[in-house]
């Protein structure tokens, strides 16, 4: 590696005020991610994984520390800049898919293209859907698709933006094993294609296929490195 990191977090903390008490979701997190890395953030529920993802995706702002993604310093950035950042730099894949239910699969993807490209030519939504294996399901609405298909649409939507960072929050959490594996393959392919892919999950098995695993516990990084035993092949996964 050795290139300029695409994601850099320095001493990042995130606290919430709940009534009279203060809840710390993240504390003093340092993280540096290289372009094209396939990174898994691993940890149990409530350890701060999603908060970390939200901070990197500029959905949330840190209480302290700095977050820099693809050269953009997010702390202190204006609302307008943050919207632009999300449009042009990161893409999300959510556990619950978060498709627009009133749009077809093709329209969901096309919408993301239109938003990210803003008039500039972009990939054809149909082609992207074909790439994720949904050539025959393009004109279906989300309620007409299975969970795995919906997640494929969500991934297609993320890919179609052409953004350099893909953030996936428990992307296999609502899927059966076979579908989950297929989704992981898709995400893995993106990393090979140069997209930085960051997955947060509580499923330790998934972390076996990552280039790097960052382990969180109670809002603190407790481990950072390649998976024990080296990166496994996706075909070897089982859960």
């Amino acid at each position: 590696m050795g290139s300029v990191p695409v994601i850099e977090l320095e001493a990042v903390g995130r606290h919430y005020e709940v009534g009279d008490s203060r809840v710390t979701a993240l504390h003093d997190v340092d993280l540096s991610v290289e372009p094209g890395e396939f990174l898994v953030v691993l940890g149990p529920s409530g350890c701060g994984k999603t908060t970390l993802l939200n901070l990197i995706g500029a959905l949330d702002t840190p209480s302290e520390g700095s977050v820099r993604v693809a050269g953009h310093a997010l702390e202190g950035a204006g609302r307008k800049d943050l919207f632009r950042f999300r449009r042009e730099t990161v893409s999300f894949v959510f556990q619950s898919f978060n498709l627009f239910p009133a749009l077809t699969a093709r329209e969901n993807v096309q919408f993301a293209v239109d938003v990210a490209r803003r008039g500039r030519p972009g990939p054809d939504a149909s082609e992207v859907l074909e790439r994720v294996g949904l050539a025959t399901r393009m004109d279906h609405f989300s309620h007409q698709l299975s969970g795995g298909e919906q997640q494929r649409v969500a991934i297609a939507r993320a890919l179609a933006t052409g953004n350099p960072v893909l953030l996936a929050d428990e992307p296999t959490g609502e899927l059966d094993f076979r579908t989950g594996v297929a989704i992981l393959e898709l995400l893995h392919e993106q990393a090979h294609a140069g997209v930085t892919v960051m997955i947060v999950t509580h499923n330790r098995e998934i972390s076996r296929v990552a280039d790097r695993v960052v382990e969180l516990s109670s809002g603190t990084v407790v481990g950072d490195g390649p998976p024990p035993g080296g990166t496994a092949d996706i075909a070897s996964l089982h859960w």
Binding site: L59, E88, E107, F111, R157
Partner: protein, 811 residues
């Protein structure tokens, strides 16, 4: 272009997904904007219809009336007019002879004995050419009618008593007149009797001039001259010259010249437009406000339902303005739909109002043309208000942080006020308690639903409460007038008479009567006051056994002269019992009268809401120098004698102008007001429908938001009936909250309307603020029952629910 197409498609799907709620909001907007357009255009077409009617019948420009009882040679009147310097400016001049009559138009079903006026007009050459007569039914007058007793009856009498369009009338004295049709003439577009009462049952009968001269015993004579002035002519000069010429011609005979714009009936009709419009404006604003709030409330809910999708848009980096496009497009389309429906609602309201008004004010010309300008204004309001209502929640939705917007749990995280309930030892299982917990768990949602219902109920109470208040006011007036002697009759004489004159004693000594009390009715003005208060002063025996006004304050027993005022008059004058007021009244002086002022104490206050009614004990008639002079007699039938018997007995007696049962007086007012209330009922119908839609919609959205929870209950094996029961109970609680809030707010609104708006619109009436039990019951039924049973409409949807899909995170 592709982007726009996507947005439009998307918003159409949004509309389709919630078509029932969308249709309901659109209808609410339609009722709001349509009622506004419909009610606002009423004034426009009334004005146009009046203008056209007056134009069509060539309403006089100047009208000369000789003093009551005076007549002049008809040809001399015409010659005098023709001789003025500006005679060339006169387009037409016609003499008239008007004489008071009593008419018996009784049918097999109804005794119709009414005072009236026989109007002799020039029918030569297709006349009258000034203030013509429009034929409504049958035929108009022809020159050859002069040979016989052929007449045309004013349409109002025929309509009021449902008479045949042709037939025979009998005048007092037995003379019969054959009426060949019914008609309308500008001076009688609204029937006003010889004392100026607009509510009187009064017969206007048109006949050739020579017929009236023959019937009235005034051959060749007239007592009116009506003129039309050429357009652009100097009317002031014509008026001045006519007045001078006739004064010179007639010598001692007094005369008054009335301009068209000062015509009593014309002013009454045009002023009525203005007064009615104030009420229409109030109703239109109330309904529009209710509709706007409802649209706002419902849009908030729809936008909130899209909260997560807005969050996804934020996560994708869609700029807030672009995110706002979708809900705003939905809002715009709902508004457009509402405005389109609104035109229909407006036209429907227009048509209903037209039916009612043309029945109430029969006119020769009604112009109900569509008023695009007014409807455009209504449409603009119908568009702007819901759009503004959409913009507020949209703006709020796009201002939350993306992480909050995309969250699936943030709104339920705190549990709302549910912890309060957990401390209460409520009976029943957790399922039984669930509706109450639901209500408290999300106070904002509860509040929005309750406010939606409350808005509808507030409008309902405000509008129908006004109707209730008017009805109660009239009832109070009826009760006071009728008192304990509903068989009483009022006999008005055709002029002043000595109390011992034969025509008076013929009444007072009539064996068919058990009681007869003479009195005076005079006009006057009470001061102080901004402009003084015009009053009708009645002298009555305040110790009478027949009838006395009720003293709600003060005492009718007294030693000196004093007045019994209405509570409204006292309040307006700022006086109470014991205070002095200045009464400006006529006082006999020689053969005429002079206006004088007398300081009189307020003896008591009566509850009649009409502030112009003032009583003075008859022993103080000396104030007017009219001791022993009367012009009215209050009578009651003897035992075994009926009211119609008395009417027939006194009909046609010398000196009697009219014999009217007091219950008829009250009924007459009520009939007239009921016509006006017919118009209010149209508005009431619109409000009821709107309230029902708001209540249904608010509940329906509430249920949609509970879809996932209901799916969870199904997952736990609860039957549909139990889940519906939970929903019904929750709706009941919210319905009660909303209805109670609405009734309280509506009552406050009503009080404000009555205190701030009505006094300026109806200064002569002390309208009581009253909310009838039936209105409250309607509000309760609507607000509680309709809302409570609304979940039942969703049973089918619940039965068909795809539980696994619904259980997934709602997108």
């Amino acid at each position: 272009m592709r982007g726009l197409a996507l947005w439009l498609r998307w918003s159409w799907r949004d509309l389709r997904a919630r078509w029932l709620q969308v249709a309901a909001i659109a209808l609410i907007i339609a009722i709001g904007s349509g009622t506004y357009s419909g009610l606002t255009s009423v004034s426009a077409w009334r004005q146009a219809s009046y203008d056209a009617s007056y134009d069509a019948l060539d309403m006089y420009d100047l009208r000369v009336a000789l003093t009551t009882g005076s007549f002049a040679d008809a040809d001399r009147l015409l010659a005098a007019a023709a001789a003025i310097p500006h005679a060339a400016d006169i387009a037409a001049a016609e003499p008239r002879l008007e004489v008071p009559i009593q008419v018996d138009a009784s049918t097999a079903d109804e005794l119709v004995l009414v005072p009236g006026r026989l109007v002799g007009v020039d029918v030569r050459d297709g006349g009258p050419h000034v203030s013509g007569i429009a034929t409504v039914e049958g035929r108009g007058l022809r020159p050859d009618d002069a040979a016989g007793d052929t007449v045309v009856v004013d349409e109002h009498l025929v309509q009021r008593h449902d008479l045949a369009p042709t037939g025979t009338l009998r005048l007092s004295g037995g003379r019969e007149l054959r009426y060949v049709g019914t008609g309308l003439s500008p001076e009688n577009f609204f029937p006003v009797d010889d004392r100026g009462s607009v509510f009187a049952d009064f017969a206007v009968v048109y006949a050739p001039l020579s017929t009236v001269q023959r019937v009235g015993g005034h051959p060749g004579q007239a007592n009116r001259l009506v003129l039309r002035v050429r357009p652009g002519a100097d009317r002031d000069a014509v008026e001045r010259e006519i007045e001078d010429a006739l004064a010179a011609e007639l010598g001692d005979v007094g005369l008054t010249v009335t301009r068209q714009e000062d015509d009593q009936v014309l002013r009454l009709l045009y002023d009525d437009i203005e007064g009615d419009q104030r009420f229409y404006d109030i109703f239109a604003v109330l309904i529009l406000a209710g509709a706007t709030f409802a649209a706002f409330n419902l849009t908030v809910r729809i936008v909130e339902a899209q909260r997560r999708e807005i969050g996804i848009g934020m996560a994708l980096g869609v700029p807030p303005r672009t995110i706002a496009v979708r809900p705003m497009l939905v809002g715009a389309q709902v508004a457009l739909l509402g405005v389109a429906f609104g035109v229909g609602v407006g036209l429907l309201i227009d048509e209903l109002m037209a039916d009612l008004l043309s029945g109430f004010f029969p006119l020769p010309v009604w112009e109900f043309a569509f008023r695009p300008g007014i409807f455009l204004r209504g449409a603009a309001l119908g568009l702007a208000l819901p759009l503004a209502a959409t913009a507020v929640p949209v703006r709020r939705a796009v201002r939350v942080t993306p992480v909050e917007a995309v969250s699936t749990t943030h709104r339920t995280a705190s549990g709302g006020l549910a912890p309060l309930l957990s401390r209460l030892p409520l009976p029943g299982s957790s399922v039984t308690q669930m509706p109450f917990r639901n209500v408290l768990r999300e106070p904002r949602r509860t509040l929005l639903t309750a406010l939606g219902i409350a808005a509808a109920i507030t409008t309902l109470i405000g509008v129908i409460g006004m109707v209730d208040s008017f009805v109660a006011t009239i009832a109070a007036g009826d009760d006071e007038i009728v008192g304990d002697t509903p068989d009483r009759l009022t006999v008005d004489l055709d002029g002043f008479a000595l109390v011992d004159a034969p025509e008076v004693t013929a009444i007072t000594d009539d064996p068919m009567l058990r009681a007869a009390e003479t009195g005076l009715t005079l006009g006057g003005t009470l001061e102080p006051g901004d402009d003084g208060i015009d009053v009708a002063l009645y002298t009555v025996d305040l110790q009478s056994d027949l009838w006395v006004p009720t003293a709600v304050e003060g005492d009718l027993d007294h030693d000196g002269p004093g007045l019994v005022l209405s509570e409204k008059a006292a309040a307006d004058l700022g006086v109470g019992v014991g205070d002095d007021v200045t009464l400006r009244h006529p006082r006999r002086e020689g053969v005429g009268y002079r206006w004088v002022e007398s300081e009189l104490a307020v003896l008591a206050l009566h509850p009649n809401p009409y502030r112009f009614i003032v009583y003075l004990d008859d022993e103080w008639a000396s104030l007017f120098d009219l001791e022993g002079v009367v012009n009215t007699v209050r009578v009651a039938p003897a035992d075994g004698v009926t009211v119609p018997d008395v009417q027939r007995d006194l009909f046609g007696q010398e000196g009697v102008a009219s014999v009217v049962p007091v219950t008829d007086l009250a009924r007459s007012v009520r009939d007239q007001i009921d016509e006006v209330f017919g118009i209010f009922r149209v508005i009431e119908g619109a409000v009821l429908l709107m309230a029902l839609l708001i209540a249904f919609n608010a509940t329906s959205i509430n249920l949609d938001e509970r879809a996932r929870e209901n799916a969870t209950l199904f997952a736990f094996g609860l039957p549909v009936s139990r889940v519906v029961l939970v929903a019904v109970t929750e709706s009941l609680v919210i319905g009660v909250l909303g209805t109670v809030t609405g009734v309280i707010a509506g009552r406050l609104l009503l009080a404000w309307l009555m205190a701030a708006i009505v006094p300026g619109t109806l200064p002569d009436i002390g309208v009581v603020t009253y909310l009838s039990a039936s209105t409250v019951a309607t509000a309760l039924v609507l607000g509680v029952l309709a809302v409570t049973i609304a979940p039942l409409l969703t049973v089918r949807r619940l039965r068909r629910m795809d539980i696994p899909s619904t259980l997934r995170v709602v997108e």
